[in-house]
Structure formats: structure tokens, C-alpha cells
Amino acid sequence: MIGIIDYGRGNISSVETALEKGGFKNITTDDHELLRKCDGLILPGVGAFKDGMKDLENRGLIPIIEEVVKSGKPLLGICLGLHLLFEVGEEDGESKGLGLLEGRVERLTTTFKIPHIGWNDLKIINPSPILDGIVDGDNFYFVHSYQAHPVDKSIISATCNYGQDIVAVVSKNNIFGVQFHPEKSSHKGMVLIQNFGKLVSQWS
């Protein structure tokens, strides 16, 4: 069972339907016990860093996420969910993140139009099980104005270029994060969802 963490952020239904299409049982909830029982978690999200952290905190979800990660179960952060994995976000004044990964989240510095919206191609930097079957040049759908800057560059699995290099995928042990929306990235997005589902199945 994959738990989609419900913290009141954005359109979660497309993540649910992508998991269903992949044949993976899932539940969207903010119930602590239900999330604890899941074999892996997805932290989705659209919106601002500070509000996102506040919502996680208000629902008492931060210790649950920490506990699940510590137990070795896979966690996937999508878009804002990826950002929240890091220590500090600078959106709307500095605020503290989950700190599961070292680094900051900062506004894009590209001279191109912001937000970065649309299909962009990946450059694979380091192999990761989340990228099984995905190769250099495969396209994914991005919508964001901020990006993560990991301290440990070796956790960067893939980047894309938008007038600057953007961290697109991070992997560290059982923690994964993607800047793009796999649930909106057609068949290649489904490959990534399948990979995450397999990682969760291996755990359970």
C-alpha cells in the first residue's frame, strides 16, 4: 500500500489515478496510523514552501514522515514535495523544511521565463532505481519557480536545462524526489511511477 500524504496541497487526484493505472494500491490520508501502516509514502504538492511546511506541521505529519524514512520505507517527493525534503526554503522569507536532505531551495536564476512550465528533457547524472528504463533526453512535465540545491551533489540523479541546470531528480537511499510531475508526464511518467511502486513492493 502506498500512502499519499494529504496535507491540503493541490491536485492529488492525478497522483492517485497514475498509481491506480500502474496497479498500485494507494490511500490518500493525513491519518497518522494509516500512513504508518503504508509500505511507502508519496509527498505530493503544489504551492509555496512555507505554507506547505505549516500544513504538514498543523496535521502532525512531520514526525510520521521522519519515522517512515527511518524505517527504510521508500519516500517520493513530487515538485513541492521534493523541495520540502530539504533543510531550508527561501520562498516568501526563509523557512525550515523537513531536513531529510542537506541543502536549500532557491528561486530559479535563469534569464528565461519564470515559472518554468512545460516539457523538458532529462540528463541522467547518476543511476538510480527510480530512473530504471528512463534515458537521457526523455521528457517530463515541469511547473515550478524554485529549485533544490543539494549540498551533497552525489544525490543528484538527473538534471534538466532551462538556461541554468535544474536539479530534476534526487535519490538518497530510500528517499527520492522529482521536480517534474510524473503523473502528468504521459508514458515516461508512468515508467517512473512503476519504478517507485516496485521499490515499495520490494519493501512490503
Binding site: S13, F112, I117, G118, W119, N120, D121, V143, Y162, E183
Partner: protein, 252 residues
């Protein structure tokens, strides 16, 4: 690098696709969900549904179309037509659409753009502009399906829409719409150069060169077309292959 986008547009009336469509391998070509699935498989980068349902009571049929599409289609899609309030936006977005497109209500009440962007994010709010060149050679914005000339000059209107929080401009040339003569490249370039948000070119595509012209000469980020795809004149794949061969950065 960021790819230029190819966007088929489907006109939907009371839950059914209108305009003749002729695909042999689709079970029900009038079913917007089937069409959306087909275009996703074909490699469309996004989809636009334009709800042309006239009666207000039957508007809920669009919500159901959106819900079903979101369950089966895994590319972003926009819904336009009949969206007048924040509640309308919320209903469409909650049902699973990624963006809403507003035209007349945006001009009549600019606060709708600002509020929508604040609540749902700029990336959700597409402002549609129907433009027509006046006798004096000025492009003016029309509302109510092209029936009323607002007298608003479109470059300043596009800039203002951006300032209010629009995430994209869907720019239709009324002079070219339905002509198959190609996009109005002058209009497209003027708006693309005036705003820093993406511009979707619309109206007038009759062949693949027109798509190229809109994206390259018109400097649009995305090319929207209806009849050339619906009537099977060209497939999405053919269009994309053509653009790639001409050096346009396109998702394959």
C-alpha cells in the same frame, strides 16, 4: 531545453465533441475522453477543451468530462468556456483539470485573474484573448465569442493580464480562425515579445508549415490547432516529426 508544445483543441458541447472528426480506430469519436486518450497516445503535449455548451444547466456535463479525462489521460489539460467565478475554477480544477482558460470574465473583471492566481497559482490561469485587426490596423480584443468589440488594444491587455497574474496567454486571431491561412504571425509575435509568460498561438492552421511559422516566426511557446488534427489531415506524430526535421525543439 524546454520544448515547444503542440496542443490539439477539442470543442465540447453538452459533453460531446463537436466538429466532424474522422478517426477509424476510435470507438466513439464524439467522446471527449476517448479523443483525449487518443491524442495523449499520439504524443500531444497538452490538450485544451473548449466548452461551448450554451445552457447553464448542462454545464455540469463538462465537470464529468474533466473527471473522466483526468482518470485516463496523463498529460496536462486546460478547460475553457463558461468559467465565470472562482467557484467555477475550483470545480473544474478539483475535477482534475490542470488549468482553466478565461476570456470574457477576465476582461469584465480583472480581479478574477488575480484571485484565481492567488488561490490556485498562476500556472493554472490561462487568459484567452480573441483579437481582430481594426480598420486602423490596431488589434482589438473581442468578447462573448467574438460578438462584442471591447476596443481594448490587445498588447496592453496582454501585459495587464500578465500583471494581474495570468500564467499563459491563449491568443486567437479572429481574422484567421477557420481560414486555414495560417496564424496571424504579426499578432503572435507582437504579443510574444510583449509579455514574459508563454503565448499559445491559435487560429488559422491549415498545414504543418503554419505550425512552424507560429512557433518560430511568431515566437509562440505553443501551437494550438483543431481541424488539421481532428479531420486526420495530419497526425500529431507527423506534425512533430516535421517540426523536429526543421530544427524545432519538440518532445518526442
Amino acid at each position: 531545453m524546454l520544448k515547444k508544445r503542440i496542443i490539439p483543441c477539442l470543442d465540447v458541447k453538452e459533453g460531446r465533441v463537436v466538429k466532424g472528426i474522422n478517426f477509424v480506430d476510435i470507438i466513439d469519436a464524439g467522446d471527449p475522453v476517448e479523443m483525449a486518450k487518443f491524442y495523449d497516445q499520439e504524443g500531444a503535449d497538452e490538450l485544451v477543451f473548449l466548452d461551448i455548451t450554451a445552457s447553464h444547466e448542462k454545464r455540469d456535463t463538462m465537470i464529468e468530462v474533466v473527471r473522466q479525462t483526468a482518470k485516463q489521460v496523463f498529460i496536462p489539460f486546460t478547460v475553457g468556456g463558461g468559467i465565470k467565478t472562482i467557484d467555477d475554477m475550483r470545480n473544474i480544477l478539483r475535477a482534475g483539470a490542470d488549468k482553466v482558460s478565461i476570456n470574457t470574465p477576465a476582461i469584465l473583471n480583472k480581479d478574477l485573474i488575480t484571485q484565481g492566481a492567488k488561490i490556485f497559482g498562476s500556472q493554472c490561469i490561462v487568459v484567452a484573448i480573441d483579437a481582430k485587426k481594426s480598420e486602423k490596423g490596431i488589434y482589438e480584443a473581442y468578447i462573448n465569442g467574438g460578438r462584442i468589440n471591447t476596443g481594448l488594444e490587445v498588447i496592453s491587455w496582454a501585459k495587464e493580464a500578465e500583471k494581474c497574474g495570468a500564467g499563459e496567454i491563449l491568443l486567437t486571431s479572429m481574422d484567421r480562425d477557420g481560414t486555414k491561412d495560417g496564424y496571424d504571425l504579426e499578432l503572435t509575435r507582437l504579443i510574444s515579445e510583449a509579455v514574459s509568460i508563454p503565448v499559445i498561438a491559435s487560429g488559422g492552421v491549415g498545414n504543418l508549415e503554419h505550425l512552424y511559422d507560429g512557433l518560430v516566426e511568431g515566437k509562440a511557446q505553443a501551437a494550438l490547432a483543431a481541424s488539421i488534427f481532428h479531420y486526420g489531415t495530419y497526425s500529431i506524430k507527423e506534425a512533430k516529426q516535421y517540426l523536429i526535421n526543421k530544427g524545432v525543439d519538440i518532445r518526442w
